[in-house]
């Protein structure tokens, strides 16, 4: 069964339509990359999938593991296994990543009828996942994202993803702002998390990330639509030629 089926999804903000009919199917074990010019609607799609209320879904449907995703509250979607690594992670003063994740992990466990992890079990899990993305304990004890460098924020997002073990991970420009070493670490982390039961949607501007996280499909978003899809070689072509030819094709079609 497909994990995610997006069908003719339209969404707008303040009467302005941003997503103009998106259709996309993601199966377990797959990695999809979404590329496309600034402002084309990539982050909007991610937010709508995660359930952000500021966007209004005007038509279309989304099924997640056979359930109506659009009917669920954001926290339910998360507990069902949807994870969004934010393009701009939010600061929460006074709350450490550790404390934040302890709450998140236990809320998720509660939703499926599991007992909360005690401090020892939780720390054990932390240690494991920390080595996966090579993140530092001191960072995790600091207030969440407060004063983190751009790269630290992104790495922290991936660490959270590792802790929450989602079915579907959506990475919104997790590569921007990362130096080469950090990029490799993050990509390695994702690759280690990959298995035949989960899937990833990777939003990026750079083909470089896709050298490490090799996608099964590449889609190009332009003006609220997925206007072109292909294999991983499409990313190379885009890197080479830019978006103009895509834009032209799209205009011809319209």
């Amino acid at each position: 069964m497909s994990m995610l089926i997006i069908n003719e999804l339209h969404a707008s903000i303040e009467e302005r339509e941003i997503l103009k009919g998106i259709s996309l199917t993601v199966n377990p074990g797959e990695v999809h990359a979404i590329m496309g010019p600034n402002g084309s609607g990539k982050s909007t799609l991610a937010s709508v999938l995660a359930g952000r209320e500021t966007y209004e879904v005007t038509s279309g449907s989304v099924a997640f593991d056979g359930k109506d995703l659009l009917d669920m509250a954001p926290e339910e979607r998360a507990r069902e296994g949807m994870f969004l690594a934010f393009q701009y992670p939010v600061e929460i003063p006074g709350v450490s990543t550790t404390n934040f994740l302890k709450t998140a992990v236990n809320e998720k466990r509660k939703a499926v009828g599991l007992a909360p992890l005690d401090a020892v079990q939780f720390m054990k899990m932390m240690k494991e996942k920390m080595s996966l993305v090579q993140i530092d304990q001191t960072l995790l004890s600091r207030s969440l994202n407060e004063g983190f460098s751009g790269g630290e924020k992104k790495r922290n997002e991936i660490f959270q993803m590792a802790m929450l073990e989602p079915r579907l991970g959506i990475l919104d420009e997790t590569d921007s702002g990362l130096d080469i070493d950090a990029l490799r670490l993050v990509a390695n982390g994702v690759n280690k998390l990959r298995n035949k039961d989960n899937a990833f949607v990777v939003i990026t501007h750079y083909q470089r990330l896709l050298e490490y996280i090799v996608p099964d499909f590449v889609h190009v978003m332009y003006n609220g639509r997925l206007v072109k899809s292909g294999g991983k070689e499409l990313a190379l072509e885009l890197e080479d030629k830019g978006y103009d030819w895509i834009k032209e094709e799209a205009h011809e079609m319209a």
Binding site: A73, P74, R79, V90, I92, V95, F100, T103, E107, K108
Partner: protein, 481 residues
């Protein structure tokens, strides 16, 4: 209405969890306030004559004063003649034996999580339990006495330790200080007294739990804590009241004194009944709390978590008289529904090289109003005074208000006074971020609020920090979307 707003309105309807009443046979003074009322109270407490005289002087002074109304809140005038000023359970222990405490009263405290049986108590915390107008028992008195610490009810102190009482009671807050302090001095019925002698580090936390139960009765407690030279004591006060649809008056006075190198740490978790969702009922909380750093290198620190009361008027202050003394004030004040709080502190620098620190966090939700009012005063001879003030306001929803009234008076050029203030809202993006990790909105608010208060909560003794955290969540239950 957006979902967020809907949830917000729902939340502001959280229930007060301590609102039960206790059915126990009580002795209640007739309503009204005259010199006879004061004689009645004094006689009930078997007070020495000097003390009755002091009360009467306070009363005569009070009659000449008028109720202050400069606070940022509104309420209907209080009629001081319709309520009673004394209520006590009929069955009272004769000596210090807890077995004689009325079982209903004992059960009440058990229900509140306060066990009066010493073997069941958390070790490390001695409790004085005050039920309406009287102390019903103080635990661990003997262990404390062994190291020279006196910890007992105020009534007992007035009878047993007249020298200390005459020397210190009213020395920091004289009865003429303000309207409510004068009223308290005239009619106060009980409270706690602690004296830690020279060089003694009090071996356990001291605490008082105030429970207001009787109807139409005010509670006027009086607390006095003294750390002698080089002594240290940490004290915690907790309070709750049943849900009543009439407002109840609570006017307390707390005095702290620290002699040379003495230190008093005073923490409050105030959770009087705040009134219902529509603003009916609730406790009027008019409190005068002041500490005197009398000796050099002395320290006084106030930490308060204020979640209850319909109206709060309270400014725990420190007079920095001794050279090199330190004063601190850490506060979290939460208001929800129709609660109104006007709270803050005064730091009075008189001695040289004194430091004070103020960290005040207010959280307003529902239709409530919360104000920080603070004064930092540096006297002419107070060389090298240092003050750091930080006051932050957090708004939950858009029907509430937060206000800041900082006053600074500096008469010495060497002073360094720093003031920082911020106002923020719990951001929709913060809540969404939490939601996206599987954390529901209520849990998210509680997480964010606790993070926001971290610096203050960290000041509380461990056991109480956990309680305070839970309390914050409960007070804000349902207040955000």
């Amino acid at each position: 209405m957006s979902d967020q707003q809907k949830i917000l309105e729902e939340v502001t309807g959280s229930e007060y969890k301590f609102g039960f009443t206790t059915d126990v046979e009580m002795e209640v003074a007739p309503a009204g306030l005259t010199e006879d009322t004061i004689r009645f109270i004094s006689a009930k407490k078997e007070e020495p004559a000097y003390f009755l005289e002091w009360r009467l002087k306070a009363f005569r002074h009070w009659k000449k004063m008028t109720e202050p109304h400069w606070g940022y809140f509104k309420y209907d005038p209080i009629d001081y003649q319709v309520q009673s000023y004394y209520a006590a359970p009929k069955q009272m222990p004769k000596k210090a034996s807890m077995d004689e405490v009325d079982p209903e009263v004992r059960k009440t405290f058990e229900k509140l999580g306060i066990s009066l049986q010493e073997q069941k108590r958390l070790s490390g915390v001695a409790v004085d339990a005050v039920f309406d107008s009287v102390s019903v028992g103080t635990t661990f008195q003997k262990q404390l006495r062994d190291v020279g610490v006196i910890f007992c009810s105020m009534s007992e102190a007035i009878r047993e330790h007249p020298d200390l009482i005459q020397k210190y009671l009213g020395s920091v807050v004289p009865y003429s200080d303000n309207f409510f302090a004068a009223l308290n001095s005239a009619v106060f019925s009980d409270g706690s007294f602690a004296y830690v002698p020279k060089g003694v580090h009090c071996p356990m936390e001291l605490s008082t739990y105030f429970r207001m139960n009787a109807q139409n009765t005010g509670q006027f407690e009086r607390t006095l804590i003294i750390a002698d030279e080089g002594a240290y004591v940490s004290y915690l006060e907790g309070c709750t009241a049943p849900m009543r649809d009439k407002n109840q008056l609570h006017a307390a006075v707390v005095e702290l004194i620290a002699l040379d190198r003495g230190e008093v740490k005073y923490s409050t978790v105030q959770n009087w009944f705040p009134g219902d969702k529509d603003g009916k009922g609730g406790v009027f909380n008019f409190v005068t709390k002041r500490g005197l750093c009398a000796g050099h290198h002395s320290r006084i620190s106030w930490t308060q978590v204020e979640t209850g009361s319909a109206i709060t008027w309270k400014y725990p202050s420190v007079i920095l008289k001794g050279d090199h003394s330190h004063g601190e004030f850490y506060s979290v004040a939460v208001t929800n529904n129709h609660q109104q709080a006007d709270t803050g502190t005064k730091m009075q620098h008189l001695g040289k090289n004194c430091k004070s620190r103020i960290v005040a966090k207010t959280i307003s939700a529902g239709k409530s109003n919360s104000s920080y009012r603070g004064l930092v005063r540096v006297a002419k001879n107070a060389d090298n005074a240092r003050n750091y003030t930080q006051c932050d306001s957090l708004l939950v929803g858009d029907k509430c208000g937060a206000h800041t009234f900082p006053y600074i008076e500096v008469k010495n050029k060497s002073a360094q006074v720093e003031h920082e203030a911020t106002t923020s809202k719990i951001g929709e993006d913060q809540i969404f971020y939490c939601n996206q990790r599987g954390i529901g909105t209520e849990e998210a608010v509680s997480l964010i609020v606790n993070g926001y208060c971290r610096e203050v909560l960290n000041q509380l003794p461990m056991e109480f920090a956990v309680e305070a955290q839970k309390l914050l969540s409960v007070s804000l239950e349902g207040s955000v979307g």
